[in-house]
């Protein structure tokens, strides 16, 4: 098999995940896109490992070992990420990352249209829970 097939598919999947990370608003959808990016890297690792295990004289199968490690770390990441998203949702009542602007720097005086009312509710909720 030509090596370009898995490499190109991996690049396209990575860029799809990149678009999802940048364009999505819901935090869980952002986590899904991160999973897509990790899977693209996994496909590249496996393809290059299969190529090198036949082309090289001696191989450590490092690509497949790293793929297994990446899968395990991705599972840990999704667990922690979902725990954080759920904690944020409990405190703030939303999982839209556009509205979590507490640590944002810059022009605080002119929030965007529609941001003022939910922000006020959110701070009220945060104070009520503490």
């Amino acid at each position: 098999m030509h090596l370009a097939y898995p490499a190109v598919l991996s690049a396209l999947l990575f860029c799809t995940g990149l678009y999802g990370v940048l364009a999505r608003r819901n935090a869980i959808l952002v986590l899904m896109s991160v999973e897509l990016m990790l899977n693209a890297v996994n496909l590249d690792l496996v393809a290059f490992d299969v190529w090198l295990s036949k082309a090289a004289v001696e191989t450590l199968h490092s690509g497949q070992a790293l793929t297994l490690f990446t899968i395990a770390i991705a599972a840990a990441e999704i667990g922690i990420g979902l725990a954080i998203v759920l904690a944020v949702y409990r405190n703030r009542g939303t999982s839209d990352i556009d509205r979590l602007r507490d640590s944002a720097e810059g022009p605080d005086d002119d929030p965007g249209p529609g941001d003022a009312a939910p922000a006020a509710q959110d701070t009220e909720k945060a104070e009520a829970t503490t």
Binding site: Y5, T16, N42, A65, L68, A75, R90
Partner: protein
Amino acid sequence: MSLAAQTHGFLSPTGVEIAFLLVGLVTFGAALVSVTTRQLVHAALWLVVALGGLAVEYLLLTAEFIAWVQVLIYVGSVVVLLLFGLMLTKAPIGRSPDADSGNRWAALTVAVAAAAALVWVVVDAFRATWIDLDGAAAGSTKVTGASLFQNWVLPFEALSVLLLAALVGAIVLSRKAKATAAASSAVADAPGGRAAKEEVR
């Protein structure tokens, strides 16, 4: 590899290549739908198709063990976790008009530029490289296990410590919210209060 490259041709793809191409098209299409659909649950379900397609690609690359690990962990647990997360955050069933943020055109520009650059570089770099899929499978369970427990034992054990840390971290993140919920009954009025208790339970 140069000798192998002489015997191959672009215009005579093998059966494995055709299968890889078709499954790759399905995978890429499912990934595209997953990041662009406006129905949140459908995004998770299309992600299942994309991850399953990747498992088939691993099988076509003769990496059997990785393929089954992919099916078990990603399709089996990660997607279920994501669906539970969507349910616990009360994701709207049906179309939600604000699934994409305002910077989607900038994101599209960045993604298309990155895709063009990556595809160009990768195709240019590996134009004459061929994977030899004949012979013994490169990623059978025996080979993978042997290499994992001969050469990669220390990272493997470190990974188990990391998983333990992640487990403890997730429990701590969940229990802290439960303590505040027990302290003040006001959290029950919050939209996520009931879901939080169910999740902790």
